[in-house]
Amino acid sequence: MSDAQAYPHEPTGVETRKLGFWVFLSTEILFFGTLITTFLIFKGRDFPGIKLTDVYDIPFTSVSSFVLLMSSLTMVLAHNALETNDQEKTRVWLLATAMLGAVFLAGQIYEFTEFYHKGFELSTNIFSSTFYVLTGFHGLHVFIGVVLLLALWGIGQRQKGLSLNEGMNLEFIALYWHFVDIVWIVLFTVVYLI
């Protein structure tokens, strides 16, 4: 606020919007936590029909997981570039992050269609249902992240460029993006590896 001097703020020392964003991420943990718990509960049970182990392709998913992890690196590079106020590099790394995210999404879509054709459908059995809802929910998060990154890239095209202080901050999107990545590490382990 422009009268920030007269009206003191932020006794915690954390910027208000960032604090709000952290609270938001903490509830996201609960969202994914509930989904993962449900997945684990059903994982141990007997169910009829085709199983994930019959259809999945670990090397393929590993590669797309690697792509997603690399996008975290490019996100950090974008943030670093912005800290030194290098607008051009920031834009490049932002776009790179969005593209890597899009590649991951494409991989997921390919994977889902492949599974579907092999008969592993949403309502095939309880396991397939939890699988699709869990990974689909994560995919939705990646999708939203890609949209946000592209929006930020678009804003960066304007004359004034981006800044770390005002507007929809690159830092928040970075937080979100890293969070979504970390969730995927957990999901990949829980769903595919164990």
């Binding site: 606020m1 422009s2 009268d3 007269a6 009206y7 003191p8 703020h9 932020e10 006794p11 915690t12 954390v14 208000t16 919007r17 604090l19 709000g20 609270v23 938001f24 903490s26 509830t27 996201e28 609960l30 969202f31 936590g33 509930t34 989904l35 449900t38 509960i41 059903f42 049970r45 007997d46 169910f47 009829p48 949403l122 309502s123 059995n125 309880i126 396991f127 249902s129 939890t130 809802v133 949209v147 946000l148 592209l150 929006a151 930020l152 678009g154 804003i155 304007r158 004359q159 004034k160 981006l162 800044s163 005002e166 507007g167 929809m168 901050n169 928040f172």
Partner: protein, 662 residues
């Protein structure tokens, strides 16, 4: 004169709303006080609707073998009564208090994110309307060959699976039609509203406190808001996912909660009550906070054991996540789990008891003023203790399995949520009436309201205890004459109508006093917290300059010192201080920039019901409308600064997502 600066107009998708009066000024407002007032009126409207539904239920049960309502209608009514009262009445009316009071109590000019605040209010409205549109568009059928297989009236075309929607009863097989979809998606939308407001309040309390307002100087009501916000933030995601599963089960043929496909109905119960029990504390903790403000004021003593009451509140919130399975003792859970949850249920009574003793300690030896808010606060303690005690009896597993699904349970939770939460809320409504409207309510009518309410309340819910112990089962629409339950049921119905009359008295008092009530001074109660140090009704800018807080109950200590015996003595300069405060509060010296109104929260919020309809009717056009509204809202929001610039020479930074500017 006021010095609110007229902002320069800027172009956006729409030109910025600028009216300060009239309907549009309310629709586009981001002022926490106006949002609070709208929350209050909307929630009270739904309270009346839920009350009417309850009266229909009571008419049906007033005599044995009655056929005032059909079975299908009865199912719809009790489901909608519960859902309405919890999600559309008590929760939002607490939100009304949070919105109005929280910034005032911590000395802030607004909440942390004013437009997010407007967004949560409008999502609540959108969700409420969506849920109630089931009476227009919804269909509720009956399983083939079931006893409900009859032509269903509009009144019955509402969700009918109970407010906790147990599976598989609420699944597609036993609840065909779209009504339960309206329920699942409606709750989903309402959940978003509460989640958003929880982010907002947590951030506000942590970051918007004025100078010197340390955590342990915050009023207890603020503390309880803090606890409730955490409960909301951590319990709503669970029900959101569970409702997600239900919607998938009903719409896309999955079997998360259906045994025929390997799913697990008990999982629904776990997920639901893992949310549902914290929800109980979401409903009651705001009332705890209100009562903790009212009792010290009218006992003219500081709150007894302030830290204890704060920590007890958080203890309740924390343990509240560990008692959920006591709702499920009659379900398939192991004896070990039953014993564990029985124990934790006994344990959670301890912090609650701490609070009760603190309140008693507060009024002990005080000089009590028995006016309406105080009467309601005292009534709250009495009724809540009864409800709390019958609650502890449920921790005894064998007894609980006997009482499950009887009117004993109905009696218990109405003593807690009506005698507890609602009495606390009425106390708060009277207490802060002069603050909000600058006028005084009518004391006589207030007292009539209280006495009618406490008599009607006990007549209604007291006999339910023994009706339940005699075996009257909850949620059955008739009982036979031979059961001998007729007499007490008639009494209960009479009690319910007394409650209705009491509510009418309250409304008459409100409407009358709002227009013609005596003009009240800004500190009519000689109160303790800083929201009373500013003029009534609260000026748009709240505090003309940021107050500096030096102690707990700061306003009181400005007015009163202590003599050698520790008794409160009015300071000499108090009268001048009050005059000076009023003068300063009405005439701010510095320039004040308030957040500007915005169209975008409303647009975004009303995109959600379209998405809901799109899922139910599998309609792409409806989904597109919803998505477009969300996009317009989000984009406009992102590109619109919170306050209009005053010397705008540069372009505003923009973004594609709904986030606030400071």
């Amino acid at each position: 004169m006021t010095k609110i600066i007229e902002p320069k107009k800027q172009r956006n998708i729409f030109s910025r709303p600028s009216s300060e009066e009239g309907v549009w000024s309310w629709i586009t407002t981001v002022d926490h006080k106006r949002i609070g007032i709208m929350y209050g009126y909307a929630a009270f409207f739904f309270l009346l609707v839920g009350g009417l539904e309850a009266l229909l239920l009571r008419i049906q049960l007033s005599q044995p073998d009655n056929n005032f309502l059909s079975a299908a209608e009865y199912n719809a009514m009790f489901t909608m009564h519960g859902t309405t009262m919890i999600f559309l009445a008590i929760m939002p009316i607490s939100a009304a208090f949070f919105n109005y009071l929280l910034p005032l109590q911590i000395g802030a000019r607004d909440v942390a994110f004013p437009r997010l605040n407007a967004l949560s209010f409008w999502i609540f409205i959108a969700g409420g309307l969506f849920l109630y549109s089931t009476f227009l568009f919804g269909t509720a059928g009956a399983p083939e060959g079931g006893y409900l297989a009859e032509e269903v009236s509009r009144l019955a075309s509402a969700p009918n699976g109970g407010w906790f929607g147990y599976q598989p009863n609420a699944g597609l097989k036993y609840s065909p039609g779209t009504a339960m979809d309206y329920w699942a998606i409606g709750l989903q939308i309402l959940g978003i509203a509460s989640l958003v407001s929880a982010f907002n309040f947590i951030t506000t309390i942590l970051n918007m406190r004025t100078k010197g307002m340390r955590l342990m100087r915050m009023p207890v009501f603020t503390w309880m808001t803090f606890a409730v916000s955490f409960l909301l933030a951590f319990s709503l995601p669970i029900i959101a996912i569970a409702l997600f599963f239900v919607t998938f089960d009903r719409q896309f043929g999955t079997t998360f909660f259906l045994t025929e496909g390997g799913g697990d109905p008990v999982l629904w119960q776990h997920l639901f009550w893992l949310f549902g029990h914290p929800e109980v504390y979401i409903l009651i903790l705001p009332a705890f906070g209100i009562v903790s403000e009212v009792l010290p004021t009218f006992s003219r003593k500081p709150l007894f054991g302030y830290p204890a009451i704060v920590f007890a509140g958080f203890g309740i919130a924390f343990i509240g996540f560990g008692v959920w399975a006591h709702h499920m003792f009659a379900s398939a859970i192991s004896p070990v789990a039953q014993a564990g949850f029985g124990l934790s249920t006994m344990i959670i009574a301890v912090p609650t008891g701490v609070k009760i003793f603190n309140w008693l300690g507060t009024i002990w030896g005080g000089r009590l003023t028995l006016n309406t808010p105080m009467l309601f606060a005292l009534g709250f303690i009495g009724m809540f203790v009864i409800g709390g005690l019958s609650g502890v009896t449920h921790s005894v597993v064998p007894a609980d399995t006997q009482q499950t699904d009887t009117y004993y349970i109905v009696a218990h939770f109405h003593y807690v949520l009506f005698g507890g939460a609602l009495f606390g809320i009425f106390s708060g409504l009277y207490f802060w009436f002069p603050k909000v409207w600058g006028r005084m309510y009518n004391e006589t009518m207030g007292k009539i309201h209280f006495w009618l309410m406490i008599i009607g309340f006990n007549l209604t819910f007291g006999p339910m205890h023994w009706l339940g112990l005699q075996g009257q089962v909850r949620r059955t629409w008739v009982y036979a004459e031979e059961t001998n339950l007729g007499f007490w049921n008639l009494i209960v119905t009479i009690g319910a109508f007394i409650l209705a009359i009491a509510t009418l008295v309250f409304m008459a008092n409100w409407i009358y006093s709002r227009r013609k009530g005596e003009v009240s001074p800004f500190d009519p109660w000689d109160a303790r917290t800083i929201e009373w140090s500013i003029p009534s009704p609260t000026p748009v800018w709240n505090f003309s300059k940021a107050p500096e807080v030096k102690s707990l109950d700061d306003f009181w200590h400005q007015k009163y010192g202590e003599d050698e015996d520790g008794r409160a003595v009015r300071r000499e300069g108090t009268d001048e201080l009050l005059l000076q405060l009023e003068e300063e509060g009405l005439n701010p010296k510095e320039e004040i920039h308030l957040p500007s109104p915005s169209y975008f929260p409303v647009i975004m919020a009303f995109g959600l019901p379209f998405l809901g309809y799109a899922i139910i009717y599998k309609s792409i056009p409806l989904a597109l409308i919803g998505v477009i509204m969300l996009l317009i809202g989000g984009f406009g929001w992102g590109t619109e600064p919170l306050e209009e610039e005053f010397e705008s020479s540069e372009e505003e930074p923009e973004s594609g997502e709904s986030k606030n500017y400071e």
